[in-house]
């Protein structure tokens, strides 16, 4: 059902999940992105977007859509949230590897029980074996990501992730369930199209998903970030666009960091404030040596 991918170096045809050309061994790019570049995914996404645009024109609100798209182009970032320990480790030069890759590289032991988790099934259903090479992020307009997953939001440099990032209209876990309910049989057929795309198509997915809200907002720029990403009381109430970044991330991919809790709050919440204070000091020393921009929110 999927078209073959043509090698840019030698024009040979390859399966879409190949990373290296079978003929000339040239690079074919990233399989998660290549998959979603197939017309099977692209055409329905385009036509849904066209419908949204036509609807906006009919309502005489095209400028609102264009305004939101411009904001996304200018400030839309991939953001990963984490806690202090994790960030300190990354700033010490550790790679943030997809779990399965870390196991393969012998960097961490296998957690067989956790492997049973639904996540592995979901990853495989969407990307087959390449699902094991994904790091997750959310799309954000103000550098603040999903704080239910850690109070520190790490914005990634777009030019380091754009070519290897795919975009889902929502949490893939829920999307998977929704697709199953709609009759999808993973392994026997491709998942339904229209809600998944590449980084280049993030605006289309956003507009298709959030059309009504964007129109209702009537161009109020200050509301843009909370329209795009809603932090719920719990994780299941979060509403966001999920980004799948192929392969690892590390300190060189970080653009800036936002601490959504101030130091006082962090210390007051800690079970061992003394320990936490040392970790904040270590973190600040690491940050100053890397030169990465960061800000504390009050």
């Amino acid at each position: 059902m999927l078209e073959k991918i043509v090698c840019p170096a030698c024009n040979s045809e390859n399966e879409r999940n190949r990373t290296i050309c079978a003929t000339c061994t040239g690079s074919l790019g990233f399989p998660n992105v290549n998959l979603l570049k197939d017309p099977y995914f692209q055409v329905p996404l385009d036509s849904l977007f066209q419908e949204s645009l036509n609807k906006a024109i009919g309502l005489n609100k095209k400028d609102l859509i264009e305004g939101f798209c411009s904001a996304l182009d200018a400030a839309g970032k991939a953001v990963v949230n984490m806690d202090l320990a994790l960030l300190t480790k990354i700033l010490s030069g550790e790679d943030y590897l997809p779990y399965h890759l870390a196991v393969e590289a012998g960097k961490r032991p296998k957690t067989t029980v956790l492997n049973e988790m639904k996540r592995s099934t979901v990853e495989a259903a969407f990307y087959a074996s390449d699902g094991m090479k994904i790091v997750y992020a959310s799309l954000s307009l103000d550098g603040i990501g999903l704080i239910n997953y850690g109070s520190i939001s790490i914005s990634l440099k777009t030019n380091t992730i754009a070519t290897r990032t795919s975009v889902f209209s929502e949490n893939s876990y829920f999307l998977y369930d929704r697709f199953l309910d709609a009759g999808w049989r993973p392994g026997n057929s491709l998942c339904p199209s229209g809600e998944l795309g590449t980084w280049e198509e993030r605006n289309k997915i956003v507009i298709n998903k959030l059309f009504d809200e964007i129109i209702r907002n009537n161009g109020e720029v200050s509301n843009f970030p909370s329209i795009l990403l809603k932090n719920g009381d719990g994780r299941s109430e979060d509403d966001f666009l999920e980004l799948h970044i192929y392969n690892l991330i590390n300190q060189h991919h970080i653009e800036d960091i936002t601490f959504t809790k101030n130091k006082r709050t962090i210390l007051s919440e800690a079970d061992d404030a003394d320990y936490m204070e040392t970790q904040l000091l270590v973190l600040e020393e690491k940050l100053s040596s890397t030169g990465i921009d960061y800000k504390w929110l009050n």
């Binding site: 079978a22 956790l114 000091l281 020393e285």
Partner: protein, 780 residues
Amino acid sequence: MAKLDNILISPLLGKAYFREAGHWYVLENQNEAKPRAVHQMDLNDLQYPGSGFIEVGTPKNLEDLQQVLSDETKKGRSLNLFLQLMDVTIQSEKVLEKITKVLDRYLQDDQVYSFLEGKAYSVVPGPTLDPVKALQCSKYGVSERFLKFFQEFNTSQNFIQPFILAWDRSAVKHAPDTETINTVFQNLLEKGNIKSMILSLAQRDGKSWDDAMVSSILILKEHKYAWRNLFFRELKIEISKLADTDFIYYEVQSDSDELSGIAGSFDPIEKMILDYIDSQVTAQKDKKSKKRTKWYRPWKGVRWKVWDIGRPADEVLDSLDYFYDQINDLPINANWKSYEVIIIQLLAYQFENSSPDQICMSLSKISKVCLDREEIIHAKKIIGYAKLLNVDDPVVDKQFAEILKSAGDLLGSKKEYERIRAEYPQDVIAHTGYAEVLKSMGDLNGAKKEYERIRTEYPDNLITQNGYAGVLKSLGDLIGAKEEYERIRTEYPEDVFAQTGYAEVLKSLGDLNGAKKEYERIRVQFPGNITCQNGYAEVLKSMGDLNGAREEYERIRADFPNNIIAQNGYGELLKSMGDLDAAQEIYEATITANPYNEIAKNALATIYLLKGDIKKAESFVPENDNPISENDYYWRFVKISALIYSGETETARVIASDCFNSCPFYNLKKGFKRYRNYIRILEKEYSTLVSEAMEEDDSPVDHLMQVHGNAAIDRIDVARKHLEVCKQFKQVKNVYESSCLLSERYDLNGLPRNNQNLSQEELDKKILAAELEAVISAGL
């Protein structure tokens, strides 16, 4: 909430994951934290490189889990602080003081203390961690316990790596499986035995070592591990090789007189190495003020006893490329002094920066560089230095076996590999080296079997896969070899051996255009690879484009002036083009630089044959009634040629037929068939010659034989077809001349006639002479 099951704790993240009623939850170690459902993005936690999950075996209720999580989190934090205190990138006094105080507080907890001790003595500190820096932090005012912990760790840290290495080596020999030995290690670690052993090594405290060993054996006795005694005996031996352990050294030998007696005759490098050993021993003696360290048998190898771990291997070895390049840049016939200067510089550098195993490694590498340049004498001499430093280094031993092989001592090489394989059964290179020796000895089926066995044991080993494909090719199973190479190059597109192997198989299969295309592609993919470049030139030659091949070889020789294969290839090309003097010059230069180079010697003998100096040619041929290796068979070609020139055709026929029947090497077999065909022409057995023609006989000389055979029995059309092929090789002097003569003799047309004044008998004589030259020049 009922009992919680399947609990996993990440001490460093301070999180516990567990399952209840089929659902996963996470509990965080925070004030008043409550469990919450695990979510897909929690998987990112698992991506944390140092998350190190602990499985909690027994089900627990929530309250107990909170306590376990709190305890484990403390341990994780202590480890984090321990690493941060040694982290060389953290320099702020304020931060270090704070870390010191908090860690000191954590260490007062006995559980945390033993946990951290276990961790500290089971992990080799990386290059960014400095235990001395941590010890210096005691200036901020610390407890006795803190001070003792870091003092002991600081003393021991250089011995952790050798201990773990010795442990692993001993485990390979005696422990039943990895899981058991890991459990044993963990068990002894938790009981403090591992620390006691390492610390006793560091403090040269024989009594503590013995106590720790006895205690460990007793612990294992409870588990009824029957292998424990052998294991610890082995551990003791391994440690004696890897660390300064004269207190447990029980193979004491004192040969200081022998050493002083021969010291005067040592060359500068030998002397340097022995001085180095001596200085290390003296330094150690001064440090310990203990009994004199004993060592023995200098030239047969010193059992290395003072083991100072140098800089990280990668860092040191990377910096050595400079020296390897210098060796590579030396002209092939450079005198030994040039090598000596470079090796002395290298050793001077390494004595300051490396451990003996690293020095052995770099000497082995230099020896390999020499071997690749076919400088066998130098390679052997250099590996002698490495053996002087450590008689038991498998890297050195393997290189020594390779030298024996290259020097033609195949049995010696085989024995050496057998010994290494027995001593290091997990060393895959020793196994593949052994298989290659079998191949060189002509035991191709044995080599194939061996490779099949290694492939089963190490399915991902690339050397094995290429080696296997190579054996198939040598056996003449070209389709099998092609399939193998195709599979390997698809799976490992960056492997140059598989790529060139594939191109060579295409060439052997007669698909010269395919091989040329392949080489053109590979040359782009691996621009610095000399094998690709030589392979490409050879394909051009096989296609009859001798001028193209010449241009190519001239370019290669300019770029890689020391590459022997290119030199020999160029010589062979000149020989084919009829420029015997120039070819002779090339081969003589090669032999001067590399007296072991059998290919050059063989080619030179062939040139003498072509020049009519049969005696001189025969003088090169070694006495050998029982050919085994490829080289042995090569010399048979010269022998047969000399017999034909001397008129002993019948003896030549017997040898050619015997070799054709017994030679296991596919390519050489084809050569013997060529000689047999020539003898059939000499004896006018044309019908037999024609009936034995095979599709695989595809060299220009094979076609030439068929032109003659078919024309002589009036199969003119067939003869003309073969002549058409020969005409493509106009630049191969002997082939073209013979083709013209045959065309003239049998009126095949299309080629110049220059011998109209000769009688038929004279013309026949001329044809046979030209054909013999073509057969001799054909090469393989």
